[in-house]
């Protein structure tokens, strides 16, 4: 185990230290006194687990491929941008544009997330990025979604509360969004269909929720008690008729 004190370090210095530790084969890295350093774990490979104490800066885990980053408190904007694989665990809330263009791996946020989360997520059969949010989300959740899985749990919300903001899944043309609670059709993009999850969906949810609960010491059975709604792309070419040729 390596401990790094980030106090007073610029992002460049801090990232160099983290990278050096990973290169040495260190599996457990703890960083204390983080506050505002950008780009932590960007493009990082391997299987190390990095625990961050404090509020890391924007663009954490961008293009990350493998490691696990655990954040003790809140995270700022642009986390997990185009992340390829690995895991980001946020014990507080996270900001805007989380998981933009994400291609694989998992992001788990116990609290709320901001605007434009999970937008333009990609996904193939084998490589499917997953974001699970314990709280609520802002507008444009899953915008342009092309693949992967987005799950919104609203753990501390009352029954019937709306968990996502406006323009939900707007432009969606792949992937699936599962919401544990009410979905207002008026908040969804025109390209989005709403349905009940089938057995295959439930298996996906169960697996993702199980992983999520592991990170936060929650009971999956409790979480699974409330019903989910599934949002799916109603058409593969939502704007096919828009242009005249």
């Amino acid at each position: 185990m390596t401990e790094i004190n980030a106090k007073g370090l610029r992002f460049k210095e801090l990232n160099e230290k983290i990278r050096a530790a990973v290169a040495k084969g260190e599996k457990e890295i703890t960083v204390k006194g983080v506050n505002g350093q950008y780009y932590i774990g960007d493009g990082l490979r391997g299987t190390a687990t990095i625990a961050l104490d404090g509020v890391p800066g924007n663009d954490l885990a961008a293009f990350m491929d493998g490691p696990t980053i655990v954040i003790s408190g809140n995270a700022q904007d642009n986390i997990g941008n185009t992340m390829n694989s690995g895991r980001v665990v946020v014990k507080g809330s996270a900001g805007d544009v989380l998981g933009y263009g994400m291609r694989g791996g998992r992001i788990h946020v116990l609290g709320d997330v901001g605007y434009r989360v999970g937008i333009h997520m990609k996904g193939l059969k084998k490589q499917s990025p997953t974001i699970v949010v314990g709280g609520k989300a802002g507008d444009f959740f899953g915008e342009y979604m092309a693949g992967g899985v987005l799950i919104l749990l609203g753990l501390n919300e009352k029954d019937g509360a709306t968990l996502a903001g406006d323009y939900l899944g707007t432009g969606m043309h792949g992937g699936a969004i599962y919401i544990r609670g009410a979905v207002d059709k008026g908040f969804c993009g025109a390209e989005v269909g709403i349905t009940e999850p089938d057995a295959e969906d439930l298996a996906t949810i169960k697996e993702a929720v199980g992983e999520f609960c592991k990170d936060f010491g929650l009971k999956p059975e409790e979480v699974m008690k409330k019903p989910f709604k599934k949002l799916y792309p109603a058409s593969l070419r939502p704007y096919g008729n828009l242009y005249a040729y």
Partner: protein, 502 residues
């Protein structure tokens, strides 16, 4: 009869090998170009106006309409049309009439203006997935509003707003009367206006009862002929427009020939069948600006204060005139540029009077701002709006909305042949001949017009998105996002636009 010395403009030809003698062209041509010769179709090519109805309905592609290659000797000063018009006038002694807007090559400033786009320092916005607002309210706005906070912390309005016309996008249909166009054409406009959440305008021809269901999307017009104007009529729509002038014929009244006045038109206008419906050049109760004020308030009183629009042709002093109109109490100033269309106008007037709409918008918007009264009235710009880009440029120059007419007619089949004044329109648009108007199925053609409006809506959103703004009011008067190309300093100054590169 003496053969005209004005050679035919077009040569209509039929490939007799391809022709299957189905006679559809004979049936379709409103101008009587074709007739049956026993074994083949005969062609009176001097009657042809190149409206292309026959071409579209010939099942065999047997028809070709050529511009007559036989021209007068080329002369840079004495152009073909100069010589031809003199010959026509010599033969008839009349004023050559014409339809649609001027076809002379005056500069079109819209084509010298380019719109900005965002790069890096501010982001463009994805118009398909993110909200993009085109909603426009036309009418007088106070310079400030007062609110009270009620107990639960919500704001309430202290004083009611003046009445507004709500448009889903800043586009509307220009006035075209029943008479100048067919009832079916008006129905196309009404259906599309309703479907698109915009408005059409009756023009000065009364309101046919078939249009009653579309009242929420209709502006009724009062012009110098006062055809069909009664309290019910005034109250029938969402606003009333006083027509002072028209871009294609500023200072000239209307003349609807008796051939275009069958029973229905006559009923709507409350005039006898087959008379000429004349709209005098001036409104005879308006000889001055204070008279206009009286008429405006008379109409407001009669309608429990519906918004009143005043339509004028863009003329040299348009800024001062518009300012007077606003001070007279108008809620909307409708500016019609000189390239605007017409059902019938003397060619000489159409082609030589007025000023382009671009200059007019800029001058009027500037003047109203200088006088601190820009909020008192909305500006509608019309007269040669050919595309959503023209619309966006007009709005950036300072208009609240644009009005389109020729564009709308083109969706109904019109090919801008310019012969609307004859009443023979083969597309069933500017005619009252029942066999011709029957061709224009309102439902079918409304679909096409709706498509057009929606396409422009998408295009406007794309333009806003590129500009990085998501509400049309941020484009309105935002000349900082326009640049001029190939314009002289003075013109740029009038438009309030910088040259490209600056």
């Amino acid at each position: 009869m003496f053969k005209s010395l004005a050679p035919p403009e077009y040569l209509a030809t039929i490939d007799t090998v391809k022709c299957i003698r189905c006679k559809r062209c004979i049936l379709n041509c409103g101008w009587g170009v074709y007739s049956w010769g026993g074994d083949k179709v005969l062609i009176a090519t001097s009657k042809c106006v190149k409206c292309l109805r026959c071409y579209h309905y010939c099942p065999e592609e047997a028809i070709q309409i050529h511009d007559n290659p036989t021209r007068f000797k080329a002369n840079a000063c004495w152009g073909y049309n100069n010589i031809r018009n003199i010959k026509r006038q010599a033969e008839s002694g009349g004023i050559p009439l014409t339809g649609m807007g001027s076809d002379l090559p005056y500069p079109i400033l819209f084509d010298n203006l380019l719109i900005d786009a965002c790069q890096v320092t501010n982001p463009s916005i994805d118009p398909l997935r993110e909200p993009m607002e085109l909603r426009t309210y036309l009418g007088k706005k106070p310079s400030s509003v007062s609110f009270v906070d009620d107990k639960d912390g919500h704001v309430r309005l202290k004083e009611k707003m003046p009445p507004q016309i709500k448009l889903s996008m800043p586009v509307m249909f220009s006035p075209m009367s029943f008479g100048s166009i067919s009832l079916n054409a008006q129905k196309v406009l009404a259906i599309a206006a309703k479907e698109c959440g915009i408005v059409m305008n009756t023009g000065e021809g009364g309101l046919h009862e078939d249009l009653f269901p579309y009242r929420e999307n209709i502006i009724v017009q009062v012009a110098s002929g006062r055809f069909g104007v009664n309290p019910d009529y005034l109250n029938a729509g969402v606003a009333v427009e006083i027509k002072i002038g028209q871009g294609a014929k500023p200072g000239i009244g209307g003349h609807l020939p008796g051939e275009k006045i069958p029973l229905e038109v006559a009923r709507a206008r409350m005039i006898p069948v087959g008379t000429d419906a004349l709209s005098p050049a001036p409104q005879h109760d308006i000889y001055s600006i204070e008279d206009l004020r009286q008429l405006i308030y008379a109409i407001k009183e009669a309608t429990n204060y519906k918004p009143v629009s005043v339509k004028i042709a863009a003329v040299h002093n348009v800024a001062a005139i518009a300012s007077g109109i606003v001070r007279a109490g108008a809620d909307i100033v409708y500016l019609d540029g000189f390239r605007g269309g017409t059902g019938a106008a003397p060619t000489i007037i159409r082609d030589h009077l007025g000023i382009p709409i671009e200059h007019a918008i800029a001058a009027v918007d500037d003047r109203l701002r200088q006088e601190g009264i820009r909020n008192e009235a909305s500006i509608i710009a019309a007269g040669g709006i050919r595309s959503s880009a023209d619309a966006a440029k007009a709005i950036a120059l300072g208009a609240d909305a644009v009005a389109i007419a020729t564009t709308a007619l083109i969706t109904m089949g019109c090919t801008v042949c310019g012969k609307c004044y004859t009443g023979n329109c083969s597309w069933g648009i500017t005619t009252q001949r029942p066999e011709l108007t029957a061709r224009l199925d309102p439902e079918v053609y409304a679909e096409r017009l709706i498509n057009l409006v929606h396409a422009w809506e998408h295009e406007l959103k794309e333009i806003l998105g590129a500009l990085g703004i998501n509400a049309i009011e941020s484009l309105r008067g935002n000349r900082e996002r326009l640049r001029g190309v190939g314009l002289d300093t003075q013109t740029l100054d009038i438009l309030g636009v910088k040259p490209a590169g600056r």
